[in-house]
Amino acid sequence: MRLGRRRVRPRAVLLAIGIAGLASLLGAALRALPPSGSGASAYGDLLVARSVPERRAQDVVAAVNFDYRGFDTIGEEFILFAAVVGVLTILRRRDDEEDVTARDEDASAARAPPPTSGAVRVLGAGLAGATVCFGLYMATHGQVSPGGGFQGGVVLATAPLATYLAMEVSVFEKIAPRWLIALGEGAGAAGFVALGFLGLLAGRAFLENVLPLGEAGDVLSSGTILAANVAVALEVAAGLVLLLAAFLAEALHRRLRRGAR
């Protein structure tokens, strides 16, 4: 115990020095910042004034993300894509590890996992339908009101999660088979880039808004902003379900090893 504390002490001193240094620099920087409430840039005001006349997009944040700053959002989308690929790589089962899960073990021993309670089943089934509707609404109305593909995609991904919580893993795998979700992940990521090439095909710039703009306030408006939102929603929802499936498989594997010990 004493030895352990002595080993930690130099690091604690180093931490204290670092935090003190950071705090003094932060304090100086914060004093120099303009007071909150006076902010907003000239660019922000410009975009608020021009988003509806130029793009028919009522939600200026969506217009910035999916049009004026659309190229950055492609990068952001691929950060998510790379992270999903990273998690799937880190959590992959190696070939020498036997590919049994607790579920296979249960099946071979002719026993079933404990049933979910009725209340949880009803709540989960009810939530699944509601979240699908709300997620689709959010993903397709980003140009009209606050929301958009990222938010809608996250809400959509909670539907399989609610189903898993209410039922068994087999139901989760039936409604969200791995190959289909992986396909959606790739299609969503590629769809946004394809929209960029649409601009080039029309003889304009990459990602330029070349689709018909429609009327501001309509769901079918703002040209590529709506299409990009749908592509991002697909990518985000599929990515999150893939993450969920990877962590779930890991948990099932562990339950078996704990049981074996």
């Binding site: 352990g4 930690v8 604690a12 931490l15 935090i19 950071l22 705090a23 932060l26 304090g27 914060l30 910042l33 007071p35 909150s36 409430g37 006076s38 902010g39 907003a40 840039s41 660019y43 922000g44 005001d45 975009l47 608020v48 988003s51 509806v52 028919r56 009522q58 939600d59 200026v60 944040v61 217009a63 910035v64 993300n65 700053r69 950055d72 959002t73 952001e76 950060i79 998510l80 790379a82 992270a83 999903v84 990273g86 998690v87 880190i90 959590l91 009101s145 606050p146 990222f150 009327e215 501001a216 306030g217 993450l243 990877a246 962590f247 890991e250």
Partner: protein, 120 residues
């Protein structure tokens, strides 16, 4: 008093940053460490929103056909940046948690103090 209130977002951001940093540096559990990192990162959300905020501002949503609002509007650019920030935060959390799972698999512990040796 007004100076205090107008600098409140910056002060809270600094506080969150310090809390998160202390947690990351002293954590004895890798999952706890990842949560501390999320706390640390949430300070950046506050700074971004504070930068774009104007006293009495409305959200940057323009309703076509309605009379233009007379008051100030919050800056949409920093709000769009914050969305990127949230996405990056979520992906980093997912990656780090996957690494924590692997660490536990290989070393049998989540305590960084007990991860002394590098194993190839």
């Amino acid at each position: 008093m007004t100076t205090l209130l107008s600098h409140l977002p910056w002060a809270v951001a600094a506080w969150l940053l310090a809390c998160g940093l202390y947690g990351v540096a002293t954590s004895r559990n890798l999952v706890h460490l990842v949560v501390c990192l999320s706390v640390l990162q949430s300070s950046t959300y506050l700074v971004l929103l504070g930068v774009g905020w104007r006293t009495g501002a409305t959200a940057p949503v323009v309703v076509a056909g309605a009379p233009p609002s007379a008051g100030p509007v919050a800056d949409p650019i920093v709000q769009a940046l914050m969305l990127t920030d949230v996405v990056v935060g979520a992906t980093v959390t997912a990656l780090l948690l996957a690494l924590a799972v692997q660490v536990h698999e290989r070393a049998g512990t989540l305590d960084p103090e007990r991860l002394r040796r590098l194993r190839g």
